[in-house]
């Protein structure tokens, strides 16, 4: 599903790289945690996969496509196959919950009818059936995060990326969101979660890739958050 080879990302020349010579393979249907302190390169890792960023060197293959050589015109098609949950939610401020989720279907040209059946279903899945007509600034952080997840998942993408999906949430809500991601993974979707939520990682027992200063320091299946730190 994902193959990274020798990937480095330098934001400012002569400063330490955000990611340094990263190699990794992630198979279809896997659930992977990417853990590390803030500044360890987790977000960069996610943003590279979405081609929000272009690496300084290295190659990235997603679903059989070299996303670095990809033409600008083709990028929207890549992104339609990747659902992404952002740390800062990235909801459209002038659209309601319903419309935000519907937008992901509108961009791929789904009919109004399909949208009207799928969007309420997904909003119910994330527990927001009461808030369909609320605008983002009328929602709490956890609710916005769930809208963001609903939008990422509504078109059933084969790959779901989540950058700190529980970063701003209380433990109970976090648990709900993690079990939601787990359920999504059970449907065959590859899920990649960047987090520093130790308890979550330890309780789920999934593959863990640990980053430190832009390097992969550990990659274990059925791993835990880490020792000592």
């Amino acid at each position: 599903m994902i193959s990274m080879k020798g990937v480095s990302k330098v934001y400012v020349p002569d400063k330490p790289a955000a990611l340094c010579d990263v190699d990794c393979e992630i198979a279809q249907g896997e659930f992977v945690f990417i853990v590390g302190h803030s500044g360890s390169g987790k977000s960069t890792f996610i943003r590279l996969l979405l081609r929000e960023l272009v690496p300084t060197s290295g190659t990235i293959i997603v679903a059989g496509q070299d996303i670095i050589a990809m033409k600008n015109r083709r990028i929207p098609y890549l992104r339609r196959n990747i659902g992404c949950v952002f740390q800062d939610f990235k909801l459209l401020p002038n659209k309601t919950s319903y419309e935000n989720v519907a937008y992901a279907l509108e961009v791929i040209g789904k009919s109004r009818h399909v949208i009207a059946t799928q969007v309420p279903e997904v909003l119910r899945l994330v527990g927001l059936e009461e808030k369909t007509d609320s605008f983002p600034d009328e929602l709490s952080g956890g609710e916005q995060q769930r809208v963001s997840i609903a939008r990422a998942f509504v078109n059933r993408p084969p790959l779901l990326l989540a950058d700190e999906p529980t970063g701003n949430l209380d433990p109970a809500t976090s648990l709900g969101i993690m079990s939601l991601l787990n359920r999504i993974n059970k449907t065959g979707t590859t899920v990649l979660v960047a987090t520093h939520d130790r308890e979550m990682v330890d309780s789920m027992r999934k593959r863990v890739i640990a980053l430190e200063n832009g390097k992969i320091i550990r990659d274990q299946s059925r791993g835990v958050y880490g020792y000592g730190d």
Partner: protein, 308 residues
């Protein structure tokens, strides 16, 4: 699975409504600038009309001897009528000339009462196609052999004072110089005003889109193609421009309906007039300019933020 046009229309409308502050600002700026352009356009067309009407008053008057043979006078009329640049001619008899004089001096009737007989000569009035080339017509009339028979002093054009062929020699030059300056100035100023308002409108639209650049980035990240993002923005720019320009046109038409009759009533000596064609032209100009700049402004502004 193509996206239907109705999606873009409802998308545009809801975005216009929900960003109503920015929409209002954009519409007002478009309205005010186009109103200024339109008002100046109408004013300059009034000035132009005035200039033309002054110019069209330039005509040649050929004063006839009292003892001119009627056959010669008719022959001269026929000859003048055939000259190039002559629009029409009319013959003014001594009696008509006196009547005109009476009408002009009706505030001081003593002037006419003191006359024992009619001292005014009959004349041939020559209206011109192109008043600017009046001199050419005068030269032809002077050269015409019939002229010498019916006019006392046709020539000495240099010392124009006592000639019997009059066309306001001194005034004509100055008049054309003045109307020329007025026309050039009006056109130049209108052009400048048009450029300024187009830049202003373009900038306002860019600003409105700048305030939503984050949204454009988000749309890219959830997989929207460029045209899918761009279309509602373009339509929104067009909608703003359309509303602004239509409001400007309505205001101008209303203002014109009030102001022009008022001017005509109060400035009787000035020919105040706006042709219906001018208003239609103006409306077309405003809508085309507004919508054009709405499209170009929003298109170029969105383009910048699509690079995510």
């Amino acid at each position: 699975m193509a996206t239907s046009p109705s999606y873009f229309i409802s998308e545009t409308w809801s975005s216009f409504r929900r960003n109503w502050v920015m929409s209002l600002v954009a519409v007002s700026i478009i309205y005010i600038s186009l109103l200024l352009v339109g008002a100046f356009f109408l004013m300059s067309s009034v000035v132009n009309e005035m200039a033309s009407s002054f110019e069209s008053k330039v005509s040649v008057q050929v004063f006839l001897k009292d003892d001119a043979v009627p056959a010669d006078v008719q022959a001269l009329q026929a000859s003048i009528r055939k000259m190039p640049n002559v629009k029409s001619i009319s013959y003014v008899t001594k009696e008509q000339a006196l009547a005109i004089f009476k009408e002009r001096t009706k505030n001081t009737p003593q002037l006419v009462e003191q006359l024992r007989n009619n001292p005014l000569p009959a004349s041939i009035e020559v209206a011109l196609v192109s008043p600017r080339e009046v001199q050419g017509v005068v030269n032809l009339i002077v050269k015409d052999p019939l002229t010498a028979k019916v006019v006392k002093t046709p020539a000495n054009l240099g010392t124009a004072k006592d000639t019997d062929i009059k066309y306001g020699q001194n005034v004509v030059e100055a008049l054309f110089a003045a109307t020329g300056v007025v026309r050039v100035f009006a056109a130049g100023f209108l052009g400048l005003l048009l450029i300024v308002s187009l830049v202003l409108i373009g900038n306002t639209i860019r600003l409105a889109i700048y305030s939503r650049r984050r949204e454009i980035g988000i749309m890219r990240l959830v997989g929207a193609s460029n045209w899918f993002i761009r279309t509602p923005f373009l339509l929104e720019g067009v909608l703003q421009a359309l509303i602004g320009s239509i409001l400007a046109i309505l205001t101008l038409v209303a203002a014109q309906a009030v102001i022009v009759p008022w001017l005509q009533g109060n400035l009787k000596f000035l020919p105040v007039n706006i042709g219906g064609v001018t208003v239609a032209q103006l409306a077309a100009l405003l809508v085309v300019a507004g919508v054009g700049i709405g499209l170009i402004g929003s298109g170029s502004a969105v383009r910048r933020y699509l690079k995510v």
